[in-house]
Symmetry: C2
Subunit: 108 residues, 2 copies
Amino acid sequence: MMRDLRWSKTEKQIAKKAFEKAYEQECADLAKEIRSRAEKIKEPADLWHLKDFVNKRLREIENRYDYRYSVLILVFAGLIKDGWLKFDDLRGLSQEKIDRITTLSNPQ
Amino acid sequence: MMRDLRWSKTEKQIAKKAFEKAYEQECADLAKEIRSRAEKIKEPADLWHLKDFVNKRLREIENRYDYRYSVLILVFAGLIKDGWLKFDDLRGLSQEKIDRITTLSNPQ
């Protein structure tokens, strides 16, 4: 379904920039959350909770940030849905792409 | 080699207390180190470095703190060697145990 979309050079630049912005923001936000949780470590068990949290969130980030054009619409929809991107960041993409992202980012 | 040692009730109390003290201290020290590293996160890659560090250190701790009497002399020798225990913490153990811990905690 996504493989039929063509990405112009300009669109690729916009997509790359938006993708990187979201990635940087999600990572910065996670770093902040880790700092906050690290501050609150009171007993040994908290270390294992932190480890589990960090592993889980980094696995999510690894899975989420997939820059293949065949899946990028879906990736952007997820980023919009979870608040890491705004439609404003995607301005310049074709209306067809925006429409698909809109549809996919809306909870069913 | 260690299985022939007998542990009196008093020695078990001393051992348990020393073991827990070392565990608490090593965990507290790790928490401090994690806070320090979390503060220094500058870019996404640092998150993965922190993850690797936390996983490695917690694996080491899991492997180290084994409270079976059959391995406890070796565990104490390691804790002495790495600075998590002092001989003073083991005062009250039999001379034979202290001698074995001394031998095992000295670098060959």
